[in-house]
Symmetry: C2
Subunit: 219 residues, 2 copies
DNA sequence: ATTATCTATAGATCTATAGATAATGC
DNA sequence: ATTATCTATAGATCTATAGATAATGC
């Protein structure tokens, strides 16, 4: 069931010229929101510009005025997604030891409430593996950034003695992100049935149990 | 880089009627192999029947003779994938306690050598989340079967006392499969760089360390 | 007669360009 | 003058049907 993207009836027949009170920024945002939902459901390649235009309530050429090509539209959608991701992470951005893991747990909890957002990522993770996909670099960048955040947090925990020095931090990072991505797929297949937040939190707990050291009481 | 699917030059100009020595079964297999690779790279929806026909070395209508619609072609590809999966698991099919986990570790190792196969699954996992996708039920079935295999193995381990009775077997199953799926994405993004078999084996070890009990020595 | 292939083609798309038109902003 | 929208349309596809033709198998 498409929650978000019923093809908006264009606000009255607009006819030719520029409509009274049209707002470029607002239209752009409407387009990006519609495109994000459609790319999330059907993927980038299988989504037509016409369907995006319809969902955003303008003609296909109206859409092309704001985004001159489909590829530029994707770029816009992905950039917007990154901004939203930043906003969701908030202060959790800079890693402070084990708190990176807590931040991820909070992020997964937060994602529970924004299915279309998660769906967009999963759709991209599926189709942008192909090196020729216009979202390929974005996906690589996204993975790299997430891994670096986790690794640098864990390294910091090792530095201040709260994480075992022999913990394989890079492996832990890769597996942790794999759990996140994998649980998202399962959750999207059955959003009512699966509790991905609880599963991920439980996984995070086992990681800590395995590698956390008691904080030194010095000073 | 497409490893597998260079558009096969059709074996000489074939012209109209039935070619001498044509073999339906062999042609079908050639088609399915080509389609699997293309669906794996570009996804189902974005792959055209013409491209499949070219890769298999016949005309588009020749392809339609063997698979009367694109949807039936997908069904054929997925059925073939399941058969190959069965073959790869072999005797590991029936779960015997902790051995299910070993079987999965072996499967991941095996998958390291068949990138297109893994790619097909990941592509489907991405696009078939959409309930309208013709592969949706297959994906659900695939997940269910995998989870059931793991769960029943772990339950058996609990029954014979080698797994802690309070182990959350269903959660362990979900997280384990999530790790598999997630590592596949990372590996496909960089098949040289990532060692998904080692990562998964390490994860499997931590699961056992956490929940395995020493076998009772009775009898 | 059945089967495996092809050519020709219909009918729907799909992306993008060209150019008209009406509102905004200097 | 610039901007936001539209109509019209070109040129590529894309799936599928109709029907011809040559080999196979009874």
């Amino acid at each position: 069931m498409a929650t978000t993207t019923e093809p908006q009836p264009r606000p009255a027949r607009r006819g030719r010229g520029r409509p009274r009170g049209s707002d470029a920024a607002e239209t752009r945002e409407r387009i990006l929101a519609a495109a994000a939902d459609l790319f999330a459901e059907t993927g980038y390649r299988a989504t037509s510009m016409v369907s995006v235009a319809e969902a955003a309530g303008l003609s296909q050429t109206g859409l092309l005025h704001h985004f001159p090509s489909k590829e530029l539209l994707l770029a816009g959608v992905l950039a917007r997604r990154d901004e939203q991701d930043m906003a969701a992470l908030g202060d959790d951005r800079e890693p402070r030891g084990w708190e990176v893991l807590d931040a991820l747990v909070r992020l997964v909890e937060h994602n529970t409430g924004r299915e279309p957002f998660v769906r967009l990522f999963t759709a991209m993770a599926g189709e942008a593996i192909d090196a020729d996909h216009p979202g390929h670099d974005w996906l690589r960048q996204h993975h790299r950034a997430a891994a670096e955040m986790l690794v640098s947090g864990l390294r910091q925990a090792q530095a201040d003695g709260t994480c075992a020095p022999d913990a394989p931090v890079e492996r832990i990072a890769r597996v942790t992100l794999a759990v996140m991505d994998g649980l998202q797929i399962q959750w999207l297949m059955d959003p009512e049935g699966e509790d991905m937040a609880a599963d991920f939190a439980a996984f995070a707990r086992t990681v800590r149990e395995r590698w956390e050291l008691p904080a030194r009481v010095d000073g």
